[in-house]
Structures are given as structure tokens and as C-alpha cells.
Symmetry: C2
DNA sequence: CCTCACTAGTTATGAGCTATAACTAATTGC
DNA sequence: GCAATTAGTTATAGCTCATAACTAGTGAGG
């Protein structure tokens, strides 16, 4: 005979109310992804945000910090710190703009490009690891839905 | 004639490499969701995490902090602070366990349940706001996929 | 029954991400 | 030319997450 005065102690804790919200599922899934991605990038000397910054700099030569901040939806003030770190690592350079003396052009050094290429391969593996159990068509649906949700949120 | 020595300045910044990763899309979408949800909960005196804690306490009477931490995948050490805040607000009580003198039983006060009910309604609106543009069948796919990704991540 | 490993809850601390305000210098619009 | 705006920066603060270390209580084996 089980007592009814005891406490919830096992794994039978109900979170059905929260599971109904996409935000809750997103947070839980993202935490798991983030943990694995952080482990994946650490050996390359990168974090999620610095990896993203490096990726855009490689992909968009002579990118301006302000454009970069806008593209990543990051505050310019915070971006400064990320670029500082990449610059100190010798992977990104700030060269004064030839047309606007307030602005800089960001560029990846050769070493920065090599680090990025290696990290990119590791991230690809990570992505496969996280999505291995998913149907490719579902992945497409998820990516599209996430983009839609993002756009919806930005418009508020 | 456009000069080719200028910097990327407009909205034509490419992030196609990153867009291929679910983690990147998840982070961006989640940031948007989080921003709106934070605004939604603030008037109720709750944050995302304290709302989640309150929800599970309401749903699972006499829940133990350790079981709660496990259910939310949160460190016990951090949970203490969240419960402290809910207790100080008068929404949750800690009563000593009758069977284990180390443990406590968490319970929502009447006021806690009322706050939760009001917040729940607001969160439901928020959820609708974020998902309004999505096909209901896609939402189901997304929720299932997120749960799968989460489970995959936890197994690493 | 006594020791020892383990568990529940807690405290303290640090790192990382985000947001905001305030500042300098340069540009642009009127 | 002057005002408003923009680019980059510095400083700061709040929230989340992770870890270590501690106290107190439990439980299993000898």
C-alpha cells in the first residue's frame, strides 16, 4: 500500500502543461544542442558566438562590424568583444575603411580561414550527430518553421 | 559604377553556411521567442525559469526539489535560488518531508496557483503569437523533432 | 551498531550571453 | 555650418548555467 503523504521522488514528474508550448521544447532541445556544440568548438578555441562571427567574416570579406552585428542580431557593443577575441587570436583583422573613417573592414587571416575550415567540419559532424534520428524531410520542415518563428518574433 | 574596394554595408550579408545548421536556426528562433516570452511574463513577476518551476510545482504537489531539478534538467544548486524567489513571493512553500529529514515538499500556495493561472493564459497567447503563421501539422512535426533532438543530445 | 558511501539541500563563485547607457569621432541632411 | 544620425567603443548589470565545497541525513555491509 503506497502512502499518499509522501513526496514526488521518482521520474514520474509531469510537465505536460509546459510540453504544449513550443518555447519550452525549444529551450530544452537547444540546451542539449548547445552543450554538444560547446564541447565541439572548445578544442578549436571557439565558442558558438565567436564561431558565428568568424563564419560571417570568412563568408563576407571586408564586412563592417555594424553590418555583422545586424546580421547576427547581436548588439554592436557585444560584438566588439567577440571581434577583439578573434583579433587577439590572430584570426581576424580590423583595417580602417577607405571610404568612412569611422568604420572598419573585417577580414579573416589565412590562419583564421584554416581554423574556420577545421571547426566547420567538426560542426558538420555535430549537426549530423544531433539530427541522426530525424527524417530529412522533417529537418527541412523544422528549419523552415524555425525561420518563420524567428521572423514572427522579430516583428514584435 | 560600384567600387569593389568598399565594405559590406547593406543587408546583403550572407550566412548561408550557418543557415544549414539546425543549431543556428534554433538559436535565432529561440532568441526571438525568449524575448517575447520574457516581456510576457514580466508583468506577472515571473521569468522563464521561475514560471517553469511554478508550473511543475502546481502540476506535481509535494514535489521534491531534487526531482524538480531533474525534471527541468537544471542543477540543484541553481534551483535553490529559483525556489527562494518563489517562496519569498509567497507562491510556493517548503515543508519538511515527513519521511526524509533532509528533504522538503514543495507546494504552491493559493496565490501561487492564481498567479500561475494568469501567467499560463498569457503564455498561451504568446505561443499563439509566435506560431500564428505556422501550419498546425508543422507545429506537431516541430515539437516531435525538438523532443527527439533533446533526447539525442542528452544521450551524449 | 558503526563506519562509509551516497543523497538532499545549500552556499559561493565564475564564465558566458544579452541589454542598456553613455561616450568619442565622423558623416550626412537641411 | 549645424543638428541629427551613425560607427565603434567602454562600462555595467542581470540572467542562465556549471562547478566545487559544505552540512546534514540516509542506508548498506561488515
Amino acid at each position: 500500500m503506497r502512502e499518499t503523504t509522501g513526496e514526488q521522488v521518482g521520474t514520474n514528474v509531469s510537465d505536460t502543461a509546459l510540453r504544449g508550448f513550443v518555447g519550452y521544447n525549444m529551450k530544452r532541445a537547444f540546451n542539449a544542442v548547445q552543450a554538444d556544440l560547446t564541447r565541439t568548438l572548445a578544442p578549436h578555441g571557439l565558442r558558438m558566438i565567436t564561431y558565428s562571427v568568424l563564419a560571417l567574416v570568412v563568408e563576407n570579406p571586408r564586412l563592417r562590424p555594424s553590418a555583422l552585428a545586424k546580421a547576427l542580431t547581436v548588439e554592436r557593443a557585444n560584438l566588439v568583444v567577440y571581434v577583439d577575441q578573434l583579433e587577439q587570436a590572430g584570426w581576424v583583422t580590423r583595417t580602417p575603411s577607405s571610404t568612412d573613417r569611422r568604420a572598419y573592414a573585417l577580414q579573416a587571416t589565412l590562419e583564421g580561414q584554416q581554423v574556420y575550415a577545421r571547426a566547420m567540419a567538426a560542426v558538420r559532424d555535430h549537426d549530423q550527430r544531433m539530427l541522426g534520428a530525424l527524417d530529412p524531410s522533417d529537418v527541412a520542415v523544422v528549419n523552415k518553421a524555425l525561420a518563420t518563428i524567428e521572423a514572427q518574433g522579430r516583428s514584435l
